[in-house]
Symmetry: C2
Subunit: 479 residues, 2 copies
């Protein structure tokens, strides 16, 4: 598949040129005047936006940080170039631990500081705090940072045996290249049942990350401090969009952003999403921010088989910007390298926490974030409201401004995506992800205004290619 | 069964009369010199005891508090006597919610402030924080208190229907007496699977509290502020031993305790326990405390069928004090009214937190606290070390001094219970609860020195009475 991604990710623009009121995008001119709510973490009450941060802001000054990373510093575990040869030699002397593709994604995540202040795979104390408290207490000052997902490395009995009493091990990627050293290791039991129950709130069979990652994994976890021999690359043509938290912070500074609002997604962008993002920007301007920047931040690690693959999504996002649905001048599209757990309220905290480390001080949370259907029962796995509730109360996320997502649907009267108005509910059409995929698969067009035509074409082509593949595949007849 | 409990629970004694070095109890004179460890919550490292609190202590001054209750005040939800008639009349006008025996135990727990600052059954925000974070952030000042177990009241569809849009409901006990009012109620979904998974870390069938309490309960939870019409009493001859947190704090003051160390138990006290408790007292004296008091605090609420019942345990504890194994002058025996979840590391936090509210500033934690066998697999449900690890890191418990339990076993050389010495492991005999019960059931005596004879007799008689009951029961022949 040939990609035609032309995202502007490095342009340095003046924060004062853009005026959404005069912007020509027809969607923007139809913004409804629905308030965005701001969750006050102490009173746990939603109030309408107040410019609480704008007093502290000094616009037009390059800032290293709109929001402090967890632990005060963005962790960077990439070995400096001049030490790489030496460390690589040293690693050759160590017991080897083989990484899966998804383990390597976690090495990437940890190495760039998305999980700051975590400096490696979790040791047991960190693992237990994550499982029980969704947070870590820092040794230095007793402060608390959010850490809702266990970020762990599993090994099997044979590997544990082979490591023996060693202090350090070498981590070897799926392609057999040595990618990292794990220092001062600690090996402890991997109680899968407990990990699954406390992370997902269910042990029902059929959770994608559990089936593909946890169940086949070994019965031990190995924690330690990570030293990564060189930056993790995928060579899939998208590495240029994989900005690290440090690079993103630099980019926000270069653009002189005085607010950054992050939008986590693992699906194509339709006009309802765009409406929300543009509306958020407008609200931030109304609050007094001069240059709010959108971080459109698709998840790039493991996703389940029926999700749209990253390359297709990136192409679709590119079209959304090309078609002017989102403004490239105030949008940064970058890939969030984390794998997906589909763990609802537990995982959404991770999604928000990682964006703090990347410098976003506003986070948009949707209905049922990181949710999915219950794997064995006919219902959502999570209460759709729990994600934003848990996020608004989560330890360590007090400094982040949480923006609950307004529900958008297709307004059959206005013939466009609009915020749902319960007083005329019958005018609205909800187009689920499943329905959208069915449209794209059958070649049927969604209602006009659901998604920009360029973006929609990308999806149609993707599903057509899938069907061609299926048609070409040999038919297996079971005995 | 006739009880002969003669516990000294109100005597006011001088803190200077007791000298354990001259005390005649033979067990005390054999204390081994094993250090007690103190967990530093910030560094999460165990260090040997240092008299960190003794600097702040002002011995010999009656203090209202050795440790501040969570939220600053011990909650007291009992309606003052002069308002009871009026409130009872008002309650008659309200929709009724029927309580189970165990619901009523929770009313008791909440009403006396064991769960301070909780003022009633949890609303959804509290429930979610408890499930996900094992803690609550206080609205007033943003501070965090521990709250690891959801303390909730379930109702069924029919009751929810009957309540309709009411603001307040009346709570009716199993005997149909109105016991409380629940104000400003909130009704929300009772997702049992998620509650069980996040509380126990498993959803395997056979968890006692789940089977007896949660599975039969309704699909809704009702939260609100509790007003209890009169103190909860059980009329079982033991109400005098059910001191509230407020009464315990008063008793500690009356005794001029300058340290209170709590021992949670739901089993008979053997000499290994006693060794530990007496050793702890000695260590506290060595640290400079002048009058450390032991709170021997058996759990009095729901326990599983094969645990020894409360009345038998109280009689056994009484014998332990009569026989001089524990010193009545520096021991307070009182009943902790909470039901038992058997939820390991999650529950031990509740056990510790409730004792903070009762004024204990030291908490002894054992191996595998609140643990049990896995209900469907041949292993412990929890890693035996996780309880003390989780406790030492738990949010909101930083102010409590955690004392990890040294393992005691029967020393076949010294012919007494002693701290386990791994260098001569073969000399030690581990007598499990199951083995102890088998001894008592079969009338066989445990090794001399395992338990004081008076205490042992109580158990033997209890198991003999069980066997007599079994023998007298009609034999049911299945068709």
């Amino acid at each position: 598949m040939s990609l035609t991604i032309k995202l502007q990710i490095t342009s340095s623009i003046s924060p004062f040129k853009l005026n959404p009121k005069t912007h020509k995008n027809p969607i923007i001119s139809h913004f409804s005047q629905i308030p965005i709510y701001h969750y006050n973490k102490l009173t746990n009450k939603a109030t309408t936006f107040s410019p609480i941060r704008s007093k502290k802001m000094k616009p037009h000054v390059t800032k290293s940080s709109l929001i402090e990373p967890d632990g005060g510093v963005v962790v960077d575990l990439i070995v400096p170039e001049d030490q790489r040869d030496l460390k690589a030699l040293e690693a050759e002397t160590m017991a080897k631990v083989r990484l899966t593709k998804i383990d390597l994604e976690w090495v990437h995540v940890i190495s760039e500081g998305w999980a700051s202040p975590l400096k490696g795979f979790m040791r047991e104390d960190e693992y237990l705090q994550s499982l029980h408290f969704n947070s870590l207490r820092l040794v230095d000052d007793g402060s608390v940072v959010n850490m809702s997902l266990p970020i762990v490395l599993a090994i099997d009995d044979e590997t544990k045996e082979r490591i023996g009493g060693a202090n350090d091990v070498a981590l070897v990627g799926p392609d057999l290249n040595t990618v990292a050293i794990l220092r001062s290791i600690e090996i402890y039991k991997h109680n899968k049942e407990e990990r699954i129950a406390r992370t997902w709130g269910t042990t029902a069979p059929g959770l994608p990350y559990v089936e593909e990652v946890i169940t086949p994994a070994g019965n031990w976890l190995i924690g330690g401090d990570l030293e990564v021999l060189s930056p993790i690359k995928y060579n899939d043509g998208l590495d240029g969009y994989r900005l690290s938290p440090k690079q993103l912070r630099e980019e926000f500074d270069r653009r002189e952003a005085d607010a950054v609002f992050a939008f986590q997604l693992r699906n194509p962008v339709h006009n309802g999403h765009a409406l929300l993002m543009n509306d958020t920007r407008k609200r931030l301007l109304d609050m007094g921010y001069k240059n709010p920047v959108l971080l459109l931040h698709p998840l790039g690690g493991y996703t389940k088989a029926d999700d749209v693959p990253l390359d297709v999504r990136m192409e679709q996002h590119s079209k959304v910007l090309e078609d002017g649905v989102l403004d490239p001048e105030t949008t940064i599209v970058s890939i969030f390298p984390s794998p997906m757990h589909y763990a609802g309220p537990t995982e959404v905290q991770w999604h928000a926490k990682a964006r703090i480390n990347a410098g976003a001080n506003f986070y948009i949370v949707g209905r049922d974030p990181a949710g999915m259907g219950h794997p064995t029962e006919k219902r959502d796995l999570y209460d759709p409201d729990h994600g934003k509730k848990v996020l608004s109360m989560a330890p360590g996320l007090e400094k982040l401004n949480i923006l609950p997502f307004r529900v958008a649907a297709y307004d059959t009267v206005a013939k466009k995506m609009a915020f749902f108005d319960p007083s005329r509910a019958k005018d609205f059409l909800f187009i689920s992800g499943t329905k959208m995929r069915t449209f794209a698969r059958t070649g049927e067009n969604p209602p006009n205004g659901f998604m920009c035509p360029g973006g929609w074409d990308v999806l149609v082509k993707y599903y057509a290619s899938l069907q061609a593949e299926e048609a070409a595949a040999p038919v297996v007849v079971s005995a």
